[in-house]
Symmetry: C2
Subunit: 190 residues, 2 copies
């Protein structure tokens, strides 16, 4: 998606350790027009997949999941992060390991909002090592929901999450795929 | 706002302790059409206030702040919750006491995204004792931003947050004002 790539080039900041800071427009300050267009773009890719629900993970995925759900005309659900491993009968729950923080957390979604009748589109802001995505797919598997697709804003294609999940048969569409960071600049895949 | 009141009556659940559970459409599963209309409704109320930025607090405020910012044509910023009290030169920071959890946390927003040139519309999902709102107003004061208004989805008007902030001169518009819970039913103010 050219608009998102342009915003990354103009407002993104590349920090040491292959970290891309997009606070200015994507995950702290939000550009609503961009997000509406991102939602429209996800809809254009997934419109014929029979999506019944959009699933994301708090916090950064919420805004783009909302606009995508709006364009698709379906509800959006966001999984919640929790440190507690205590099992709760009312939720589906999956562990996610965070490489950036070096800790494991739990993601949870109420059993009321995912079912075996659902065809789910998973939306998230970043895909790198694919740990959060594995957790979200795990929630869908527990619910018996079909993962109809995955929409990602920014994929770090030099990490193996996208490759691994695609090899497992998941239909992943990323709006901006980053091949490398070179001299503080972002290099996109074609 | 009649649509929101209707949704509360149809899908809200009143729990002991004056807790209103709106997980089904407002803060876990999200109805995107409702949220777009809520954003439009906030815009209709605040359109002539010269708003330059919408400010909210993660997590539940994000979706309605986004749609409001979209309709107003301005950026949205969400403050982040953090347990750490360590001062960071790069953020504005304010303490918020949570009555439901019995603990204090910090809310933080980057100094890059609030300034003395901003006329801020604060958006949040609930207003009860007004602690979170006080924190958000505090962030604006630190930035030298003008609080041009406050938009709330659901106000528990039997608690004193709204009264106290209105007495201090804040222009608060709540889409659904709850007077009381009676026999598990919601009673709205006129």
């Amino acid at each position: 998606m050219q608009l998102l790539k342009d915003m990354i080039v103009e407002y993104g900041v590349v920090l040491p350790g292959n970290i891309l800071k997009v606070d200015a427009f994507l995950n702290h300050q939000i550009n609503p027009d961009l997000f509406m267009k991102m939602g429209e773009d996800f809809k254009e890719y997934f419109y014929d997949k029979g999506i019944t629900k959009v699933l994301t993970l708090e916090v950064s995925g919420i805004s783009m999941a909302l606009t995508t759900a709006y364009h698709l005309g379906v509800p959006m659900v966001f999984a919640k992060k929790d440190v507690s491993k205590i099992l709760d009968e009312e939720v589906f729950q999956a562990p996610v390991y965070s490489y950036t923080k070096g800790t494991e957390y739990q993601i949870k979604v109420s059993k009321s909002y995912l079912s075996e009748d659902d065809r789910v589109l998973i939306i998230d802001d970043f895909l790198a090592n694919g740990q959060a995505l594995a957790g979200l797919i795990g929630l869908c598997e527990q619910a018996g929901s079909h993962v109809a697709g995955v929409g990602i804003a920014i994929e770090k294609a030099f990490q193996d999450g996208g490759k691994r999940h695609r090899a497992a048969g998941v239909d992943i569409y990323s709006q901006a795929r980053i091949k490398a960071f070179e001299d503080g600049q972002v290099v996109f895949e074609d």
